[in-house]
Symmetry: none
Subunit: 134 residues, 4 copies
């Protein structure tokens, strides 16, 4: 289970991590009870400062997604699947809402918008389709 980080993107690194962990839980890639990579390990793998990883893990704890096994590491909470699914839904809904608001206030018709949505969906769904189908 690995994460892909864009250190030069506009969204902070720690937030990319937080989001990806939540999405992974919602997707079922990370399941309750499973350990996440240690701070030091991830730090090496992603070539990112340990403090940045720690901050992401910290936020995931206060969001009740991870919990500490003291002295041993961090695990995904068993009750976090529902929470992460909800988080995913509101995250996506919010982004969709922003897209709609911009589109409509910019005079884009509902038809154009729907076309754009479907074409983008076709692109991304295909590329992920193989994994999803298996």
């Amino acid at each position: 289970m690995y994460f892909s980080i864009d250190p030069n993107g506009e969204v902070p690194i720690y937030e990319q991590l937080v989001r990806q962990v939540k999405l992974a839980v919602a997707d079922g890639v990370l399941v309750g009870g499973q350990m996440v990579p240690s701070v030091r390990q991830l730090s090496k793998d992603l070539a990112i400062n340990p403090n940045t990883i720690a901050r992401a893990y910290q936020e995931l704890q206060s969001d009740l997604v991870l919990e500490p096994l003291r002295g041993r590491g961090l695990v995904v909470r068993r009750d976090s699947f529902t929470r992460c699914t909800k988080a995913r839904n509101s995250l996506v809904a919010e982004t969709v809402r922003r897209a709609l608001a911009d589109a409509l206030s910019g005079g884009m018709s509902a038809a154009e918008l729907r076309d754009l949505f479907e074409s983008e969906l076709a692109k991304q769904d295909v590329s992920n389709g193989k994994d999803t189908k298996s």
Copy 2:
């Protein structure tokens, strides 16, 4: 023609302004040759620091949306409609793309996603319907 600014939102105030001007041009609410409010005027109307307005207008000039009318203010460039429409399209496309990426990597099915999109579209399209239809 007024703008609605959310001073506590996550997107910077100056960027909200830039975006709203571009969307207004794409929508046809602002047309070539039309003057935009003066920095001082907008600053009072929106209760926002004049520097922030100035920064937005400056960016709109370097984006070739506005141009100065020597000593009299700023006007919408006559060739900016196409440009703003393109900007709107790529802006919306980008947001849609992000929503799709998050949704799919979080295990949301294409069907769920489409439902969410349509329901949000129904909400916002209805509320804007009157203006759009005219």
Copy 3:
């Protein structure tokens, strides 16, 4: 409005700050809309690293006690009084509960416990009485 920090105590500095801010809001010393000292200012006043202050303020934001006025600083949210009062109550209740649990499981009688409580209350209430009464 100043805070008293014990840098050598067992509780982390940033948490002492978080708690004191919440208690100050519950007490009415900090009211909605009021600005809190800037990170740099507090950092100088308390002789504490700015990052530590920032972390406390960060937590206070995610706890919906503070909100940013972008570019200008942080203010107490107008709806945080109730929240902080509740936080105070559960904080105190939790501590009392722990004291009771230890006392009873250690064979201390309810009478002894009540005496101890009243005597400590007399001590601290007197010392704060003057300020409270005014």
Copy 4:
């Protein structure tokens, strides 16, 4: 005589053990000369790392609560009852003091505080009453 450990609580496991042993001595559940369970035994019973048990027992020896019986294990010192009672008292007093400090600095009135104390006392005293009385 068994201990109840919360491995995810905020207080370290070894300290929970130390405290519970002292409280048991103060309560009279553990008396001078009595043996405590072996490290290996407790480790299995509580599903806790033996090192953690060992650390707690070590601390209890340096606190003069336990003493080794050469080659046979650890026993409660005959003079430890008074010591543990004092430890219990200062432990409880300290916790009460912290609760009071937080309550008063958070604007909670002495009356509210007393109510809270009595209600919590009623709860816990009732539930422990049967055991205590027997």
